[in-house]
Amino acid sequence: MTATNETVTAGKTESGAFVAPGQPGSVVDVKPRYENFIGGRWVAPVRGQYMKDISPVTGRPFTEVAKSTPEDVELALDAAHAAKGAWGEASLAERAAVLNAIADAIEAHLTMLAVAETWDNGKPVRETLGADIPLAVDHFRYFAGATRSLEGRSTEIDKDTVAYHFHEPLGVVGQIIPFNFPLLMAAWKIAPALAAGNCTVVKPASPTPWSILKLAEVIQDIVPLGVLNIVTGPGGEIGKALASSPRIAKIGFTGETTTGRLIMQYAAENLIPSTVELGGKSPNIFFADVMDQDDEFLDKAIEGLVLYAFNKGEVCTCPSRALIQESIYDKFMTRCLDRIRKITQGNPLDPTTMMGAQNSAQQLEKITGYVDIGRQEGAEVLIGGERTDIGGEFKDGYYYEPTVLKGHNDMRVFQEEIFGPVLAVTTFTDEADAVRIANDTLYGLGAGVWTRNGNLAYRMGRAIKAGRVWTNCYHLYPAGAAFGGYKISGVGRENHQMMLEHYSQTKNLLVSYSTKPLGLF
């Protein structure tokens, strides 16, 4: 992977893999140390502490980022509050122009940001090139358009009285980003907040603080000073300082349930709104008729099951519970396992690699623990179940085999989000049984339904208690399709124009055009 003895073409080695960031010939520069991005400038952390950032690709540190403390959060809030007046009053055309310029800049640096994202997160570069970064670009464009097309409403209460409703910015918001899609989830949060006229203080996830700083380098001359501020550091220190600050008007968070509750607790203390997205255990349901023909659609359905390995399973909506109709189980699973065997693991910077490295040693440890408990509970390991050693300079990276466990829905591996490439598979008898198993979970974020029968697909989609039911597809995340959870999967929606409402106050002007007194006093 290092380029020292190889000819480099467009940031790639002769093998076709991208050169590792920071190495000669790489498309990504790496500085030894990164500061916080506050008020449009790079600001050293007040206490001068830094923490190592490890690439999961190699398991080795490659740079340092600010190990911020609550004082740094205050500096970021100062900058955001200084900027909120002008940004909140900027015309829709001006705001949309900034969002579009951000999108253009990301697109112009797409390869660089994709390689950086792969290096920080471990996901294969074919995903960052094809999904993460292009979707982030489109997200800014979507909200540039959405904010201009959002109209206030007015109501004629009576012939002389009119209720006008205006969207007004909240002011300064706090946003906490997860590690699984560091740039795309940042785009999901930052784009609507800015589009609605707010300034934001963003805390990236502790294991993936760097790619968003590379993004800041790309857009630092585009975003007005103080509108976007990024502070890196441990969640327990600065996540808390940000979420509990009386100086924010809203907090947005994606992560797990306990921190979600804590975020809502802090929001309650300050009487501010929160949006929390807390994960799932999404069922992916395959009805017998998918095998009625051996055609393109069956091929799509098989791929639909194997999509549990997308982003090595580190997706809130990972289709991690496959429910397969009993009558086709053996034949369908045989085809799926054949496809899973063809998943190539290797250098995530190689565009032919299908599955990369888990995000951290902690994640790898957790996956190992779950497969262990699955075995104890009597689940059958159909494939995988071990760490992968892809050798060479990747030997200390965090790789795990694509794994399938067969069992039943009461097992913990069916009830908890493993956040790894581990599929729990079981069977169902009929439609009612499928609905029962699908909904027998604490979560309700995503689901998939596969059938050639449109009526059945519709009934299933409406019966499943989840915020997103993919029908004859999975893992599509277009801007414009609302995303969020039922049950303990969270509160609020993202990815849709309705987000603008979530990041706005409603101002009602109730105006009388009559000159007549009420006559009461």
């Binding site: 327990g236 994606t254 992560g255 349930t257 902690q362 957790k366 908890e416 956040f419």
Partner: protein, 129 residues
């Protein structure tokens, strides 16, 4: 209490801690005062035990106290308890900073959970208690 799951009186514990975890808790208590644990679930760092200063996290009326580790309470959400209750939680520590808002288990260490399915005999003791 040890990893066998029962104490000297033969009482089955729903949560136990390894010596390394107990040492980390003792150190935290010395440095920061009493702590509490809440078992998480869901996205990202879900299923990691979260360690907070005691009282930082507001315990709800439906949360379940699983037991104590190193003198500190360990809670779980009631709904999550229903799907976890056939397993014993073993609190341990691992390399790396904690994620979420959890306190670290010492420099570059985090708390984690290993699990053991209760034996039929242990289940009988639990159900009898």
């Amino acid at each position: 209490m040890d990893e066998s799951g029962t104490d000297e009186q033969g009482v089955v514990a729903r949560v136990v801690a390894t010596p390394a975890a107990l040492e980390a808790i003792a150190q935290l208590v010395v440095e920061r005062g009493p702590v509490m644990f809440f078992q998480s679930g869901g996205c990202c760092d879900g299923s990691l035990p979260m360690c907070f200063a005691d009282g930082e996290f507001v315990i709800g009326s439906h949360d379940v106290l699983l037991g104590e580790v190193g003198g500190c309470p360990f809670y779980i959400d009631a709904r999550q308890y229903q799907v976890w209750k056939h397993t014993q939680l073993i609190l341990d520590i691992g390399i790396g900073e904690p994620e979420g808002f959890s306190l670290a288990a010492g420099e570059d260490r985090h708390f984690l959970i290993r699990s053991k399915v209760f034996t039929a005999a242990e289940q009988a003791v639990l159900e009898g208690s």
